[in-house]
C-alpha cells in the first residue's frame, strides 16, 4: 500500500495542471470511500445477508423440571385442544416452519393415548393429535420425540438399558401407526441429550444409529434430528469428521449454550465455525443451531427459565447464522407469547420478547433479507 502511494504521487507530479486536479479529485474521493465508508458498507451488507431468522422451536407438553418450568408447567395440563392448536398457529404466524417435540412420555406417563404407559390427566385428551393436525394445516414440519420412557435425568440408563430400549421401539411403532399419516410428521427426534466431550463417543454412535435404523424401518422418508450439548468442547478435527461419517443422522442441531452460561453471546460463533467445516468435510449430517433464548431467574438448572433480553438473542443469531443451515430455538412455549393469545403460557416478559423478535423479523421481511 505504501509503495502504491509513492508511485502514485510520483505520477501525479509530472501531470499537467488540469489532469492533475481532475485525477486528484477522483482518486481522493475513491480513497475516502475505500478507506472507511466502502469497507463498512460491504461489511454491513455481507453481515445482513448472513443473518437468518428463527425457523423453528422445541415444543413440549410439560417441562421436565418443575423448577425450570415454573411459569408454564401448571398451565399446560389445562390447555384445551383449541389452545394447543392456537399455540401452533402463533408459531407459524411468526415464520416458524419446524417444531421439535421434546417428549411423548415422561416420569412413567404419556402425553398421548398409549397402550404402553398410563396417560397424563390433561383437559385435551390427545395433545399430540391436536398439534400435529394443526401443523398439517400450517405447513409445519414436526420432529416427533421417541422418548422419555424412563427417568430423563439418567441419560446413560436411557441410552443403554435393554428394557427401556425395547419400550422405546414399541413406542415408535405405536406412534408411527397412530400419527404417521400426518403430513406434518417429518421425522424423529432422539431427545436423550448426548453430551459431547472432545468428540462423539461410541455410546452415542450406537444409540443414535440404532434409533435411526428403527426410524427408517417405520418411516423410510423420515428426517431425523439430535441436539447434543457440549458444543464448546468439540475438537473440530479429522477424528470428529470420522465420527460424523459413522453417525446415521440427518440433522445435528448443536446447543449454543448461552442460556446455561457455558458460553456467552458473541462467543458461540467460533465453535459453530469449526463445526461447520467438519460437517462440510464429512458431507453427511446438516448442521443446525439449537439456540437458547432463555436465562435463569436464579441459579442455572435450579431456578425458573425466563425470557432473555432480545439484544442478547439478536447477537446470538448474528453469531451462529453464517455457519448453520437453520436456527431453532429453545423454546417458544413459555418464553414467547403473542399479545392477546388465547393460549398464554409462561413468564409475563414473554410477550415483550415476542414483540421484539416479531418487530425484528417483520423488518427483515420488509427489507427482503429472508
Amino acid at each position: 500500500m505504501i509503495i502504491f502511494q509513492d508511485n502514485f504521487i510520483f505520477i501525479l507530479w509530472y501531470m499537467d495542471r488540469r489532469k492533475f486536479i481532475k485525477t486528484c479529485g477522483l482518486v481522493s474521493t475513491s480513497l475516502l470511500l475505500s478507506n472507511d465508508v466502502l469497507a463498512n458498507r460491504i461489511q454491513t451488507t455481507e453481515r445482513k445477508h448472513l443473518v437468518k431468522p428463527i425457523i423453528g422451536s422445541w415444543f413440549e407438553f410439560l417441562h421436565g423440571s418443575d423448577a425450570e418450568g415454573k411459569y408454564w408447567n401448571s398451565v399446560l395440563p389445562g390447555f384445551s385442544e383449541m389452545q394447543w392448536r392456537a399455540k401452533i398457529r402463533e408459531m407459524s404466524d411468526m415464520g416458524m416452519r419446524y417444531l421439535v417435540l421434546m417428549a411423548v412420555a415422561n416420569n412413567g406417563k404419556t402425553f398421548y393415548p398409549s397402550t404402553l404407559q398410563p396417560q397424563y390427566d390433561y383437559v385435551c385428551s390427545d395433545p399430540l393429535e391436536a398439534v400435529l393436525s394443526e401443523a398439517d394445516l400450517c405447513g409445519i414440519k414436526f420432529f416427533v420425540s421417541n422418548d422419555f420412557w424412563g427417568n430423563s435425568d439418567d441419560t446413560y440408563k436411557m441410552m443403554t438399558d435393554k428394557d427401556i430400549g425395547a419400550l422405546r421401539e414399541k413406542a415408535m411403532v405405536e406412534i408411527a401407526e397412530k400419527y404417521g399419516h400426518h403430513q406434518s410428521f417429518y421425522g424423529w427426534y432422539y431427545p436423550n441429550e448426548s453430551g459431547l466431550w472432545n468428540t462423539i463417543d461410541d455410546l452415542t454412535l450406537s444409540y443414535v444409529n440404532n434409533c435411526s435404523r428403527i426410524a427408517r424401518q417405520l418411516m423410510p422418508k423420515s428426517v431425523n434430528l439430535i441436539a447434543p450439548y457440549g458444543t464448546k468442547s468439540v475438537r473440530a478435527d479429522d477424528e470428529y469428521v470420522r465420527k460424523l461419517e459413522q453417525l446415521d443422522i440427518d440433522i445435528i442441531a448443536y446447543q449454543d449454550e448461552v442460556g446455561v452460561k457455558k458460553t456467552r453471546a458473541g462467543y458461540a460463533g467460533k465453535y459453530f465455525e469449526g463445526l461447520c467445516l467438519v460437517h462440510k468435510k464429512a458431507g453427511r449430517a446438516k448442521i443446525w443451531a439449537d439456540m437458547e433464548i432463555f436465562g435463569f431467574e436464579g441459579d442455572v438448572y435450579k431456578s425458573a427459565l425466563i425470557p432473555a433480553d432480545f439484544n442478547r438473542i439478536q447477537k446470538q443469531i448474528e453469531d451462529v447464522s453464517p455457519f448453520v443451515d437453520n436456527i431453532l430455538i429453545y423454546q417458544y412455549l413459555g418464553l414467547m407469547n403473542k399479545p392477546g393469545t388465547t393460549a398464554f403460557a409462561g413468564h409475563p416478559d414473554s410477550v415483550h420478547l415476542y414483540e421484539a423478535y416479531d418487530h425484528w423479523y417483520r423488518q427483515g421481511l420488509k427489507n427482503k433479507l429472508w
Binding site: 460491504i42 466431550w197 452460561k261 439484544n311 442478547r312 453469531d319
Partner: protein, 313 residues
C-alpha cells in the same frame, strides 16, 4: 504551479491520514500450528519476568522457545485463562478440569483446588490472594501461598457466574457477572451496579480492566464503560468509532493507549479518539480478538485463529 501541487498533495495526505495511521504498526501473524486447530484458538498470553512467553489455547498451553512453539502441558485441557503470580508461578484456569499450578521444580501441572471446575478468570491481588471466577460456583478466594480457601466478609455479588475480577487502586475488588458489576469495599461491604442504577447498557458484563490512570474499564455485550472518579462514560458504535459493541478484552500499552478486543477486531483509544483495526483494514489474523497483552513495545492480540503481534514502527 508547484505550490498548487504541494497544496493538493497535502490535502490528499490529510484524507489519507487513517491509512497512514494504520502503518504506525508492523504486523506479524503467528500460528501455533499451520492448520485450523483449537491450538490456534488463543485465550491468554502471559510473560514471565525473564520474558518467557506462554500461550493458553483451547488445546493446552504452549511456550515460545528458541523461535519455536512447544507444548507446555495440559494438552487435553481447554484453557480459559493463564496468569503469573507475583512469584512468577504460572496458573491455568480450565474449562471442566479446574485450576492448575505449574511446579517450579519439575514443570508438572498440579490441581490447585478441586472446588472449582469451570474457571472463567483468575486475578492475583497485591496480597497475592487468588480471586477465581467460576462459571457456576461464583467467586472463590484462595491464599496465594497455602492455596487454602479464604473467607470473604460482607461480599455480595450479582450471581454465581463470575466472568472477570480486578482490583482498583484503592484496593476495592470489582467483580463482573451477568447481573452487573459488584464492587467489594474490603471488609466494609459491596455494591452492585447494573442497568437500573448506572450507565451500564446491559447486565451482561464480559471483562474488566484497571488502567494506569486509575480508570476502571467495563467491557459488556453492548459497549464499553469507563468509570473514573465517580463518573461514568459509555462508548459504543454510536458515539465512538468502535468496531463492535461486543467487548471481549481490554488492555493498556506502555504509552497509556487503551486497547479493546471485540468480535470485529481491535480498537485503540489514545485518550481522544478511537481507531479500529480489523481484517478489512489491517493484517489482523482474525476478527475475534479474545485477549490482549502489552509487553515491552509490542501488543499481542490473541484471536480465535492465531496471534497478531503489533510492533511500533
Amino acid at each position: 504551479m508547484v505550490k498548487l501541487h504541494i497544496k493538493i498533495l497535502f490535502f490528499i495526505l490529510l484524507l489519507y491520514a487513517p491509512t497512514i495511521m494504520s502503518a504506525q504498526y508492523r504486523w506479524r501473524n503467528v500460528l501455533i500450528t499451520d492448520s485450523l486447530s483449537p491450538q490456534n484458538d488463543i485465550s491468554a498470553i502471559v510473560f514471565a519476568k525473564n520474558g518467557g512467553m506462554w500461550v493458553g489455547t483451547w488445546k493446552g498451553i504452549y511456550k515460545f522457545v528458541d523461535g519455536q512453539w512447544s507444548s507446555d502441558g495440559l494438552e487435553n485441557n481447554y484453557i480459559q485463562t493463564l496468569v503469573i503470580d507475583h512469584n512468577d508461578n504460572l496458573l491455568a484456569g480450565t474449562w471442566g478440569n479446574g485450576i492448575f499450578l505449574k511446579s517450579t521444580s519439575n514443570g508438572s501441572w498440579n490441581v490447585l483446588n478441586n472446588k472449582v471446575s469451570n474457571v472463567n478468570c483468575i486475578y492475583v491481588d497485591k496480597e497475592d490472594k487468588l480471586w477465581i471466577g467460576d462459571c457456576y460456583n461464583g467467586l472463590i478466594v484462595l491464599d496465594g501461598k497455602t492455596h487454602t480457601k479464604q473467607k470473604v466478609d460482607k461480599l455480595c455479588i450479582g450471581d454465581s457466574t463470575v466472568t472477570s475480577v480486578v482490583s482498583d487502586f484503592d484496593g476495592n475488588v470489582w467483580i463482573a457477572t451477568y447481573h452487573g458489576v459488584s464492587v467489594y469495599y474490603r471488609n466494609v461491604g459491596s455494591k452492585t451496579f447494573n442497568i437500573s442504577n448506572s450507565i451500564l447498557p446491559t447486565n451482561d458484563i464480559y471483562t474488566l480492566y484497571v488502567d494506569s490512570k486509575k480508570r476502571v474499564w467495563i467491557g459488556t455485550m453492548k459497549g464499553l464503560v469507563c468509570y473514573c472518579h465517580d463518573k461514568w462514560m459509555l462508548y459504543n458504535t454510536n458515539n465512538a468509532s468502535l468496531s463492535s459493541n461486543l467487548i471481549y478484552c481490554i488492555s493498556e500499552d506502555h504509552k497509556g493507549n487503551i486497547w479493546v478486543g471485540t468480535d470485529n477486531g481491535v480498537n485503540r483509544f489514545d485518550g481522544k479518539r478511537w481507531i479500529y483495526y480489523n481484517k478489512s483494514n489491517s493484517s489482523l489474523v482474525d476478527n475475534r480478538v479474545q485477549t490482549i497483552t502489552a509487553f515491552r513495545h509490542c501488543i499481542y492480540l490473541g484471536t480465535s485463529q492465531g496471534i497478531s503481534e503489533l510492533y511500533e514502527n
